[in-house]
Amino acid sequence: QDKDDLTLQLKWVTQAQFAGYYVAQEKGFYDEEGLNVTIRPGGPDIAPTQVLAGGGADVIVEWMPAALAAREKGLPLVNIAQPFKSSGMMLTCLKESGISDPQTDFSGKTLGVWFSGNEYPFLSWMSTLGLSTEGGPDGVTVLKQGFNVDPLLQKQAACISTMTYNEYWQVIDAGLTPDDLVTFKYSDQGVATLEDGLYTLQSTLEDEDRVDALARFVRASMKGWKYAEEHPEEAAEIVLENDETGAQTIEHQTRMASEVAKLTAGSDGTLDEADYQQTVKTLLSGGSDPVISREPEGAFTHIITDRALN
């Protein structure tokens, strides 16, 4: 019988950050829902929003700041589900750089930041701290962080952006100990934003067939996520099988799967409106140059999750 085709564009390369989708694929959850899902890995300079706008994907995994910014640019993105409940972003600093309090110690330092649409949470945080990002004694020098944690290891930056589930552990694997480091989670700083939500175009939601397919997709994906939460080792193996670069290691992916499980825990896929408001508030509070300039409307919908969960 005919299956519905769906293409999912990930935000980053194949890794346990996206375990839920790979598990759903491998365990046949998508099949069961009558879906034929193609998962496209991302990369450092792939902007999922652009892929979605260009018609290269039906659903994307994206961070909410980028999605809302794109929405203001006139690309009508809608959040249809939010498998990640909490934020995994943090700033990891070398203890020897003498940073212990974000309020006072950042100025004059060099900080590594991810760009390509991932810089918004950082920019918001800095503007709440009242720090300029243009360098100088009263500001921070921003470095566009490349693909890895080298700027920290090479001491080119005092702090770099890390995810709790990934880069932080690469720093540890490289030989530094947690004692050598100081970390600042965005959620602890009150500037958490929602990560790794599922987004689609508004127009897609006007098509009843697509809505139905998306609902089935979200249902199967959440099933995958819950399975991955419970079986991190198996999830890591599945991810490894799907990694075409052959660069991932089982240890790192297993650890990542367990760390990601902490972030997905507590979400059934439904977007929590309080979290949404917190994100919007953070993004609006950006001082002279906020990421978004006004309260977005219709940036999320519960239609899909409501259907998926019933």
Binding site: P44, D45, A47, T49, Q50, A53, G54, A66, A69, A70, K73, L75, F115, S116, G117, N118, E119, T133, E134, T141, V142, L143, K144, Q145, G146, F147, D150, P151, Q154, Q156
Partner: protein, 282 residues
């Protein structure tokens, strides 16, 4: 379907019109018509681009129209200028100058030793064919994230093509010209200055011209692996992330203009320096 067809017709018409005009102009073959023909070709392409984007409603995030790009260019001149200085002046130009100077000096150094020439040339040829951009992440790791690492990438990228050309050029004197020097018992320095260097110029400029575009590409790509918060490569990747495609294309436009001017400048100097070479006399 018919809509697409109806859209195709004016596109074809513009193309045919531009081409016919050019075919007619090309028959005159004066300096003016040559410039005109090139310009008309370019304008035709731009008009077609604008028409295609409008007629087929190509989304801006995929391909902005030339009009939008021009508007973005005009609105962002300050940003474009900073990026230009960072990437092209500091990164590409410095790197190119250092790389070219190093290559020329190395070529002269190994020119005296046939042993070194035979050893270095095959390796140089090999390295010149390598995907050098692959070492960009390594050089960013070594030289930091500011323009120095970009210049280093450019140095490495342009070094071998220039070296190989220069060595070939220094060896490209004909036997009789060398024999003449021998009959005059010319010392090494004299035959270097008065024979080998002038004879090497056409080859050297060949290398210099090829590497102008390489230098730009190297400097821009290296910014993907870490950069400060300005620079053309930085801007391109960030603007893509922000879906500001007109800005991306404005940067591309800057790169293309700078590259063409850079190439043209080197070609102009070449014309002055190697005025005597048959290819310049045609």
């Amino acid at each position: 379907m018919t809509g697409a067809l109806a859209g195709t017709l004016p596109i074809l018409a513009v193309w045919a019109g531009g081409w016919a005009l050019n075919a007619w102009l090309a028959r005159f073959d004066t300096r003016l018509t040559r410039i005109l023909v090139a310009a008309i070709f370019g304008i035709t392409v731009i008009v077609l681009w604008e028409m295609i984007v409008r007629i087929y409603r190509v989304p801006t995030v995929i391909l902005p129209a030339p009009g939008q790009i021009a508007a973005s260019f005009a609105a962002n001149t300050a940003i474009l200028w900073t990026d230009f200085v960072q990437t092209i002046v500091k990164g590409a130009l410095t790197g190119w100058l250092i790389g070219a100077a190093a290559a020329i000096l190395t070529a002269i150094a190994i020119d005296r030793s046939p042993f070194l020439q035979r050893g270095l040339l095959p390796i140089g040829n090999f390295v010149a064919a390598l995907p050098i951009v692959g070492i960009a992440p390594i050089l960013v790791m070594w030289f930091g994230f500011d323009w120095q690492s970009k210049a280093a990438v450019v140095v490495v990228m342009v070094f071998f093509p220039i070296l190989v050309n220069m060595v070939a050029g220094l060896a490209a004197t004909d036997a009789m010209q060398r024999d003449l020097m021998a009959t005059w018992a010319a010392p090494y320095g004299a035959s270097l200055w008065k024979l080998r260097l002038p004879a090497a110029m056409p080859f050297l400029f060949n290398g210099l011209k090829i590497t102008t575009t390489l230098a730009l590409i190297g400097a821009i790509v290296a910014e993907f692996f870490g950069s400060p918060t300005h620079g053309m490569g930085f801007r391109i990747s960030t603007a893509v992330g922000r879906l500001d495609l007109p800005l991306v294309w404005a940067e591309i436009l800057v790169a293309a203009i700078a590259g063409t001017l850079f190439y043209g400048l080197v070609a102009l100097i070449e014309k002055k320096v190697t005025f005597w070479h048959p290819s310049q006399r045609a």
